[in-house]
């Protein structure tokens, strides 16, 4: 009955559709499983940590990005495909496929919030427990760089959901989201690992999840990888927005000249942010002072 009360067009109608999609995402079991796993692994890491301080803080956002982001790809793809069983009935309803796709983008809100809460938990715990003086954190890095790296987690969670919408719209074979998940992992790995130890590690920033922190090496040092994390954060958000537009482009009626202009502008923005990420920020990898209690003899 609630669908009958949704106005066919305008902001109010779109908001109602978006809220429905966000709620469906928030209740999706795969998404919920990912959120629970992310927090359980973080809690285990902190509980089993023998040191008095939190180590490798800037590596922890990868946990949220992996568990919440990847499960959001799966959940969003399934939400998108789930409407296809009723496509004939839906097609007779007011509104276009592009509008429904735009509403589906709201499925990214729960992962974004879960990622923000995850990052907040990391920051709060680091502030409460403290970090080593040599650790790459607020005392050794500009605040904007720390915040940018920490906020990569919610950006990746949001991007995962938007990539899931894109996957659901365009890839119709069974197991498409499984292929996308494996491809994301492989591309993120192979796109950056060969570059990490080179003098041009900033070129790794084209991948959908770039590392900025190496973790602690055997000599107790930590490497902060080159590049501008603030611009990379913007690049990730631009990729997410491009994913939504590419999913909307599936609807032939949406392919207007104005829409093409928006896509071109956003793609240009993403490229500019990538260029900024590569050319500004830290020009070379920076190695920290050794953390005494992390040196392995």
């Amino acid at each position: 009955m609630s669908s009958l009360s949704v106005s066919a067009s305008g902001i109010a109608g779109h908001r109602a559709m978006a809220i429905i999609e966000a709620r469906r995402m928030a209740r999706h079991p795969v998404f919920l499983l990912g959120v629970v796993l992310a927090y359980v692994v973080l809690a285990l890491f902190l509980a089993l940590n023998d040191d008095e301080v939190v180590p490798d803080v800037l590596t922890l956002p990868v946990l949220g990005a992996f568990y919440i982001g990847l499960t959001s790809v799966i959940a969003a793809a399934r939400l998108t495909r789930s409407t296809e069983v009723a496509v004939e009935a839906v097609a007779t309803a007011p509104g276009t496929e592009a509008r429904r796709t735009l509403a589906l983008a709201a499925a990214g809100i729960p992962p974004l919030l879960a990622g923000l809460a995850f990052s907040a938990a990391v920051v709060i715990d680091a502030q409460v427990q403290g970090v080593a003086a040599q650790e790459w954190w607020f005392d050794t890095l500009p605040d904007w760089q720390v915040w940018s790296i920490v906020l990569l987690c919610p950006a990746a969670c949001l991007g995962g959901a938007l990539l899931g919408v894109l996957t659901g719209r365009w890839l119709r074979f069974r197991g498409a989201s499984a292929v996308v998940v494996v491809a994301l992992i492989v591309v993120s790995l192979l796109g950056q690992v060969p570059l990490l130890e080179t003098g041009s590690s900033e070129w790794r920033l084209w991948v959908p999840w770039a590392m900025f922190h190496s973790g602690t090496d055997a000599d107790g040092t930590q490497t902060l990888l080159a590049g501008n994390p603030g611009a990379y954060l913007g690049y990730l958000l631009a990729l997410g927005a491009l994913a939504v537009l590419a999913a909307m482009w599936h609807d032939r009626t949406a392919r207007t000249p104005r829409f093409h202009t928006v896509i071109a502008a956003l793609a240009t923005t993403a490229l500019a942010l990538f260029a900024l990420g590569v050319m500004t920020g830290n020009h070379d990898n920076r190695v920290s002072e050794p953390i005494p209690f992390k040196v392995k003899s």
């Binding site: 795969v30 499983l33 990912g34 796993l37 692994v41 285990l44 890491f45 089993l48 590596t59 990868v62 946990l63 992996f66 568990y67 990847l70 499960t71 790809v73 799966i74 793809a77 399934r78 074979f173 069974r174 197991g175 989201s177 499984a178 292929v179 998940v181 494996v182 992992i185 492989v186 790995l189 192979l190 690992v193 060969p194 973790g215």
Partner: protein, 196 residues
């Protein structure tokens, strides 16, 4: 035998199974090219094979075929044989050791066998509960679950579930446990009857 082969050829959703095997083959080529990335690529390869096994029980007409005289046990037992295809891909890749990655063959065969058995058993259980196409939901979750232990490696002192080089006994024990769980799932799923 011919009836079984005929059924497998016509009944199994081969396209997603073979897509999974194909992606596994591509990942094996990447592993040959970048053997230093084996820590993640080998589990990703396993994820492809295990995800492929999730589709062997996909059957859109399940409510119809479930009540045919041939019986659900015959159908489920034969479909389990289709899981041998992704398992064979895994076995060949481990035997060839692309990029000369020092994979302990027996240990890694156990890893693949255990993962594929557990996934196929889970899909069979879903089929027993009249889920017509468990693969679409199971495969992506399996892909994430198989790669997930890689994130533990750098964080905890437990070691890794995917050791490159020596294959420690504790890791073997874990995978034997996974294999036993898979065998139990298959045994339950292959019992006659349905559990809607």
């Amino acid at each position: 035998m011919s009836a079984r082969l005929w059924y497998l050829r016509r009944g199994v959703a081969w396209l997603p199974v073979l897509v999974g095997c194909g992606v596994a083959a591509i990942t094996a080529l990447l592993l040959a090219r970048w053997p230093d990335a084996a820590v993640v690529l080998a589990p990703a390869l396993l994820a492809c094979c295990a995800a492929a096994a999730a589709f062997v029980y996909d059957e859109d007409a399940l409510p119809v075929v479930a009540v045919t005289p041939r019986g659900t046990r015959w159908r489920r037992a034969n479909r389990l044989a289709a899981a041998l295809v992704p398992l064979a891909v895994w076995a060949v890749v481990v035997a060839l050791r692309p990029g000369d990655v020092p994979l302990a063959r027996q240990g890694w065969w156990l890893v693949g066998g255990a993962a594929v058995l557990l996934v196929a058993g889970s899909a069979a259980l879903a089929s027993r509960r009249l889920v017509p196409a468990p693969g679409a939901a199971l495969a992506p979750v399996v892909a994430v679950a198989v790669v997930a232990p890689v994130t533990f490696a750098g964080l905890f002192s437990w070691g890794t579930l995917y050791p490159i080089g020596d294959f420690p006994d504790p890791v073997r024990t874990v995978w034997l446990g996974v294999a036993l769980s898979g065998a139990a799932a298959c045994a339950v799923a292959l019992r006659p009857g349905l559990r809607p």
